[in-house]
């Protein structure tokens, strides 16, 4: 199984690859930072602003409970959104790049 030789430097400079790299980096780190900020608001909020967490929203169900539950839906939302964007954009760009390189 002789491995194919690629000119990695040339591929790294290919405009398609640069586009893929920029889009991906912005998306991945952007959403990762968002999810971290959203998550750490939970322990920080619970510790330093317990008053807000105690506000009752529906019946006896309070803001804290809804906020904690929302963490699950936000995580799932980010996952599905990422999957959508990756399947649509990132995979397409990768395929176009590979086609262009005639691999």
């Amino acid at each position: 199984m002789a491995e194919r030789q690629y000119d990695w430097k040339a591929i790294a400079k290919n405009p398609k690859f640069v586009e893929l790299h920029h889009k991906k980096t912005a998306f991945l780190f952007g959403w990762w930072i968002f999810s971290c900020v959203y998550y750490f608001l939970l322990p920080i909020g619970a510790a330093y602003t317990p008053g807000i967490f105690k506000v009752k929203i529906i019946g006896v169900i309070n803001f804290g409970y809804i906020f904690a539950l929302s963490q699950f839906f936000v995580s799932w939302g980010i996952a599905l959104y990422y999957s959508h964007v990756a399947n649509k954009d990132f995979d397409r760009l990768t395929r176009e790049l590979i086609d262009e390189l005639h691999l």
């Binding site: 619970a46 317990p50 904690a68 996952a79 599905l80 990422y82």
Partner: protein, 664 residues
């Protein structure tokens, strides 16, 4: 397709066998129903808790604040049914091993199932690999005793997967082969990097494995009365069997079967809990707040902090933060270890090498996130359900940490339909716990032995010159040795406090492994010196901080606390009218405190009191790990590593030139 057929057949066999057992066991079990079998169904959930029932379950179902010394309750599973279910699980998994062993011919088969696992299968396997008995039994127990804080605690375990999905899953699939060492050694000096990566992998796996083994031994002893050592040996032998003979294929299917069993158990139990509250979430929460037992339990909890609460206010407090997690910095520190550590766990990373493409890796994380998240949402129902139907007092009388809450709930919910169903359901959940332990420990043994056999033996000692036959033999031999060590450590650690080891494993993964993985994949200037300094500093810092943290035992601190108790109790005694003595409970506490107050000496590392006040080292050790990795790389720049970055970066983004798991 064959895999699917086997799986379906296995599931069918399981249900048929369970039904057969039900028939067989009906007569004797109904007669000798364990003491925990609750009275037959009673209308409203609130009534269940309040109505005094005439049998032994009464003291569990009703609050007993007045009772001077609550009798220690035990949760005993029906041995015949439970062992029968265990046997079924062992039989099915052994079938899987025999089938898997036939397909395991090359190193790629052994470590990565030949890259032949689909995204969906891998998603279930990740969930099975990740959810330990601690999350299955521990988190619902925390919720049943401390309400909101237990729920908040569970959130981080899912959010962690965002990091896995966005940062590591696809690049690792594209740039790696079998182990952490493969990813890290790509553009660095392979030998030292592989050696250090293997040490950190073995460290993380050992900490996690020890916690799992000790937990397994105690759980089996508690549930079906198998002695501790026997349980460890039994679990260990099975785990070694799966890994040595079936490699990654068998491990994957054990994990898939476990995840399926766990989700069915959780769904069924949540369904029964929701039936009781008429599928009305608002009513469900009202029941929590208005339960007199929960109110009483919360008033006692907050009284320790000098707060007086009673009635509905106390019930409402159960849904608010701060009953359990009292140190916010510790909480944030644990959150950091989870969010970054999961993505650095060798046994999780290894799962991404079993799928053929980056798309499949992506799909598998998303499926795993839905399974894991769904499970934790159901856990809330189970935890709160246990608080309503068993009362916190009933749960703590069986296990002060609440670990038995889910199992007790299963027995009661089943018994409310018919006593035999209670026994069956309890036995089923015990079997799920058993499968859970097996699946997690197998994944850990596989990850540790891959690091030793593939990184150290094949690539460091043999310079990569080992044929397939030799590689597979090395992998099997190492798995055997690692598994045997796991059994020995498990037996040796029986009396040790291992609760902090899981947090330590995540802290080491977050501080040592994750920084170097991320920097290897995304930073041009990263190199050998960076990998080694990052791994060493991150790992050593986490371990050192735990060694000087409150996790260790400090005899002098215990003695000081005990002295205070002695003083308080003697005051109380003095204040009593003449002729009266302390209640039995207080007298016991006084006697214990007097003994504890005599304790002297120092902790394991010779300290009188903790140097570091947090139980979770992440908040300090993670930045240290990152800094060491960055500074190390900057201090010893490597032109070759920088030049090779283009290759790594193109590979991890596009999958070009991917190391195919299947040898062509």
């Amino acid at each position: 397709m064959t895999i699917k057929k086997i799986f379906i057949a296995a599931t069918l066999a399981l249900s048929v066998a369970a039904a057969a057992y039900a028939e067989e066991q009906k007569a004797p079990a109904a007669g000798a129903a364990p003491a925990m079998s609750a009275p037959a169904a009673q209308g409203a959930p609130a009534a269940t808790a309040a109505a005094p029932a005439p049998n032994a379950a009464a003291s569990v179902a009703t609050p007993a604040p007045a009772a001077p010394a609550p009798v220690k309750k035990e949760l005993k599973a029906n041995k015949t049914i439970t062992i029968g279910m265990f046997m079924i699980i062992i039989a099915i998994t052994m079938g899987v091993v025999v089938w898997a062993a036939k397909q395991t011919k090359s190193a790629a088969d052994f470590y990565a199932a030949g890259g032949g696992i689909t995204g969906t299968q891998n998603g279930w396997a990740i969930a099975g690999d990740y959810m330990s008995a601690a999350s299955f039994l521990g988190i619902s127990g925390l919720i049943s005793l401390y309400g909101y804080d237990g729920f908040m605690y569970s959130v981080g375990w899912l959010v962690a997967y965002i990091t896995v999905l966005l940062i590591v899953a696809e690049p690792c699939r594209n740039a790696g082969k079998y182990t952490l060492g493969d990813i890290l050694s790509f553009r660095t000096s392979p030998k030292p990097v592989r050696a250090f990566a293997a040490i950190s992998t073995v460290a993380v796996s050992t900490f996690y494995l020890t916690a799992q083994m000790v937990g397994a031994g105690k759980l089996m002893a508690l549930l079906i009365g198998i002695p501790y050592k026997m349980s460890i040996i039994g679990v260990g032998v099975l785990m070694v069997g799966y890994v040595v003979f079936g490699g990654m294929v068998a491990t994957t299917w054990v994990q898939i079967i476990k995840a399926g069993l766990l989700m069915s158990g959780a769904f069924l139990l949540s369904f029964l809990v929701m039936i009781k509250s008429g599928f009305n979430p608002i009513g469900f929460f009202n029941t929590i707040v208005s339960s007199p037992e929960i109110q009483d339990h919360v008033s006692k909890l907050v009284l320790k902090d000098g707060v007086i609460l009673s009635g509905m206010d106390a019930g409402q407090r159960f849904l608010e933060p701060g009953l359990y997690l009292k140190n916010p910095l510790d909480q944030i520190s644990l959150g950091m270890a989870l969010v970054l550590g999961t993505a650095g766990m060798p046994h999780i990373l290894m799962r991404f090498f079993t799928v053929p493409t980056a798309q499949a890796a992506r799909k598998s994380v998303i499926i795993a996130m839905f399974i894991i998240g769904g499970f934790y949402v159901l856990t809330t129902l189970l935890g709160f359900g246990a608080a309503i139907h068993l009362t916190p007092q009933g749960i703590t009388s069986v296990d002060p940490g609440g670990n038995m809450a889910t199992l007790m709930l299963a027995q009661q919910m089943g018994a409310d339909i018919a006593p035999i169903i209670g026994d069956l359901f309890l036995a089923f959940l015990c079997a799920v716990a058993f499968a859970t332990i097996l699946a997690v420990v197998s994944g850990l043994v596989l990850a540790a032995s891959a690091a030793i056999a593939h990184d150290i033996y094949v690539n460091v000692i043999k310079d990569g010159h080992a044929d397939q036959h030799e590689q597979v033999f090395a992998a099997r031999a190492t798995s055997f040795v690692v598994g045997a060590c796991g059994i020995l450590i498990g037996i040796a650690a029986e009396k040790q406090n291992v609760a902090h080891l899981v947090a330590l494993a995540f802290a080491v993964a977050a501080s040592g492994n994750l920084p170097v993985v991320v920097l290897s994949l995304f930073w041009r200037k990263f190199n050998t010196a960076g990998v080694i300094s990052g791994l060493v500093v991150g790992t050593v810092a986490s371990i050192a901080l735990v060694m000087v943290s409150p996790n260790m035992t400090y005899p002098k601190v215990i003695a000081e606390g005990a002295k205070k108790v002695v003083v308080a109790m003697e005051k109380k005694q003095a204040a009593l009218p003449a002729g009266q003595s302390l209640s039995e409970k207080d007298a016991k506490a006084l006697a214990k405190a007097k003994v504890d107050a005599q304790q002297t000496g120092t902790s394991m590392v010779g300290l009188e009191k903790p140097l570091f006040t947090l139980k979770n080292p992440g908040i300090i050790s993670i930045p240290l790990g990152f800094m060491a990795a960055i500074l190390g790389a900057l201090a010893f720049p490597s032109r070759r590593s920088e030049e090779m970055f283009d290759e790594v970066y193109v590979r991890q983004n596009t999958g070009l030139g991917m190391a195919k798991a299947v040898e062509h």
